[in-house]
């Protein structure tokens, strides 16, 4: 079973805020570990989450471009492994700060949700 992040198959609309915010966080974190291109990011995400999380291509690139517009990541055209040119993204200083903030938020949020979910039924 996998959860797909994004809006596969539905009419054109913007992703909900919660999903979008989560996706942003994941992308930033992956890029924090290592700069990489769009394809590599989607592969890595699949890999790290053990096939649980897959980002649809339709959500990935808009999200990446949005992060670029916001100034959290920056892009550079470099040759990839097979010598084809690809757009490599990396985290900026601003992005790093944003990542820290969002990570803290996420911890708080997930802790609260876990706490409620684990409450014993009366």
């Amino acid at each position: 079973m996998y959860h797909s992040l994004g809006n596969r198959g539905e009419p054109v609309s913007k992703p909900s805020d919660l999903v979008q915010g989560t996706l942003d966080l994941l992308l930033l974190k992956i890029l924090a570990l290592q700069p990489m291109n769009g394809w590599a990011i989607s592969q890595r995400l699949k890999q790290i989450s053990g096939e649980v999380l897959q980002v649809s291509d339709g959500s990935l690139y808009p999200a990446l471009h949005k992060l670029e517009q916001e100034g959290w990541i920056t892009a550079e055209w470099k040759p990839s492994e097979n010598n084809r040119r690809a757009k490599f993204y990396s985290l900026t200083r601003l992005g790093r700060k944003h990542l820290e903030k969002e990570t803290a938020n996420w911890s708080r949020l997930s802790a609260a949700i876990s706490h409620i979910v684990r409450l014993e039924e009366a």
């Binding site: 291109n37 291509d57 670029e68 990839s80 757009k87």
Partner: protein, 900 residues
Amino acid sequence: MGPHHWLYTIPLRLRSLFRRGRVEQELNEELQFHLERKIEEGIAKGLSPKEARYAAMRAMDGLEQRKEEVRDMRRIHWFTDFFDDARFAIRSLRRTSGLTAFVVITLALGIGMTSATFSMVDALIFRPYPVPHPSSVVTLVSTTHDNDFDDFSYREYLDIRDKTKSYDGVIASANMEAVGFSAEPGAMPRVKGGMMVSGNYFHVLGVEPRLGRAFREDEDQVPGRNAVVVLGPDFWKHEFASDPGVLGKTIRLNGTDFTVIGVAPESFPGMGIFGHPDFYMPLAMARVFSTNPRKNFFEDRDDRELNVKARLKPATTMQQARNELAVLAKNFENEYPKVNHSRGAAVHTQFEARTMEDGNWKFGVIFLILALAVLLVACTNVAGLLLSRARSRTREIAVRLAIGAGRFRLIRLLLTESLILASLGGVAGIAIGYGVVEWFHSKESIVFMTDLPAGVPFQMDRRVLLASLALSALSALLCGLAPALQSTRVDLVNALKSADVDVPGRKRLWGRNVLVVAQVSTSLMLLTASFLMARSFQHSLLDGTGFAKDHLLMVSFDPRLAQYNTAQTQQFYKLLAERVRETPGVQSEALTQNVPLGQDGYDGVAFVPDGFQMPPDRENFNSTMDTVDEGYFETLGIPILRGRGFLASDTAEAPRVAVVNEQFAKHYWPGADAVGKHIRLDNSAGIPVEIVGVAQTIKYQDTRERPMDFVYLPLAQHPVSRMALMLRSSGDPLQLVQSVKDIVRTLDANLPMLQTRAYEDYYLNMAVKGPGIAIQLVGAMGVVGLVLAIAGLYGLVAYNVSRRTREIGIRIALGAASWDVLRLVMGKGLILVGMGTAIGLTMGFALEQLMNSMLFDAGGVDILAYIIVVPSLFLVTMLAAYVPARRASRIAPTQALRYE
């Protein structure tokens, strides 16, 4: 996110905007890379290259859509979309160039008329004074029972200036007047327009002279001491060729030497709407100029000739200023009961001053309403055309909707079209507006028959242009919104199925019908209005003026221009009259202060009829008056109904006499004979004057006026400086001009002859051509409105026919006669015309009442106008509907059924 964040992202966004091509290319490349890696993955999993590619494409779920999403993320898409829309709109508009041209012309007409009237209303009401901070300049007036806008006297002005605390400066100016001007001492004086102003005039208004300086306070202190003058900018340009050496030059005004100390800037043509003074003189020099000869300008508190304005202090409100002035007026009343009895004072803003005084502004407003009506007709027409055009693009729109374009996006596209149309129409309309204003300027010489510098103030200046542009944008929205909204509410399935889809639900056509009704009613109203105006004017002309206009020469004089005193003036006129009477070709002569139906206003006289008990709040009554000599009634052919006119024996030493008109006699002594009665001038203790004759009431100021009271006083007993000589000639009046010139030259070579012309020409311009212009304008609007309505109706019926061609073909094939088809197609149209007529009639009626109250005092309903206009409109519109309907009835069924 701090400011540094923005600094970082802006270059990115700008890059997205300006280097679109490059950015697009990169995006393509990026997605292409992803696709290829995906294909590789598929191949690695064991699929064939073809299958792998297929799977990858499917997984990527529509490349184009992804790209669109990415672009959305860049958040500048609204801007680039606009360019795309614009390009597309231009292309599709060019495809239907006939329709486009028609729409643009229609809009241009509507916007053009409206912008022209904007310029009128702006000039007459809204244009601020040409000084810094114009909103703080207020007008102070003296008020009585009869007059809410009276001037102040010199002494009153000084008291107001010194005793009030609400203002940062109080200024006074007299009306612009004729001044005899010579650039060199020996030259023959010419008539120019000069205005006397207080010493602080330019300083308080904040007007910096272009050259030299303005008056100093001390230059306006001692009467007659400082003969200095400031030139107006146009006068300096025309008279002195903008020579800076004019400073310090001596010029002669009314025979007195004045020194030029400065030139006003181009930005300040004057405070008045119409008149632009050639030069300004200090009030202290009033003795040189035409002030009331019977009173002492500087001393008499009832010699009211000054227009007073002031700059309100920022901290003071209008109400405070009004209260303060009211108190001051009360003080005047107490201190000077004889001259300030029941006289108040008020303060007005510019807007109030321009609109409360009865005047030209009402014309401007009426024209504006009418022009807006024309614009409305134009817009509804255009909206209708756009609707039918959008309908023909239903399929295209359906396809767009089907492939995922948002409805809002499509509406934006259609609105862009109407925006472009409105821009074109707006530009053309502004050009038309310019043309109309130019036309007004070309008629200047008709409207202003005077020696003084006056001109048509309407101009397409910045404010008017802005208003017109805003109007264009608004009309774009108006015209485009309805079609855009309606045409995107399309049933996709049906639209895609057949090319000629139109499910004529009741609701769908409702909008169209309303448009036609609106058009018909508006143009009916316009036509009725112009018809009414023309008729009313015709009536007033036919009524006649009451005196003989033909074979009259008029020549005006003002001996004060040559520095005559009262005695010299009287002597001049006496000799002039004598000598002219002896000239061959002259049947009779007359001297009068004002010619009837002229441009100058008559003076008024205050009096108390003898034996009358005056009501407690009034000191006297008022009437319009004229000063004339013995020859007047005969020369102008005004019958004396009772008693006599003036005689040579009514000299200065003889008992004081007056002649009144029939209206006056009926007013004050109804049923009795006015001859022999007395009136006292000014108040009940004033000079008694015996009424020796009753003259027939004529038209004095306006051909459309109601009969008014009138008093004549003899020149010998009531000296006046400015007079007009009127000669009745046996032949062409202009032949006498040379004789008059010779006579005047023997009397005084330095005295200019003003306004020399045949009276009939003057009358034609003043009373006929002038109002005629107004009527032409309204008529033009009405015709434009009608043309638009006809086009609209034709378009509607033709559209209906095209829509139902197949149905009509079937009907004919099934045996319908032409008459049936005609009825089918025209029926709806006629109902609409009928409704439009009914509404138009009501509106026209209401407009007539409004016009009656504002302008013509005609009263009652003019049936003839309706009898003529309504059936004509009906006929014309029926014709417009008939032509396409007839074509419909002639449709060959086979052709119709083939129609796709």
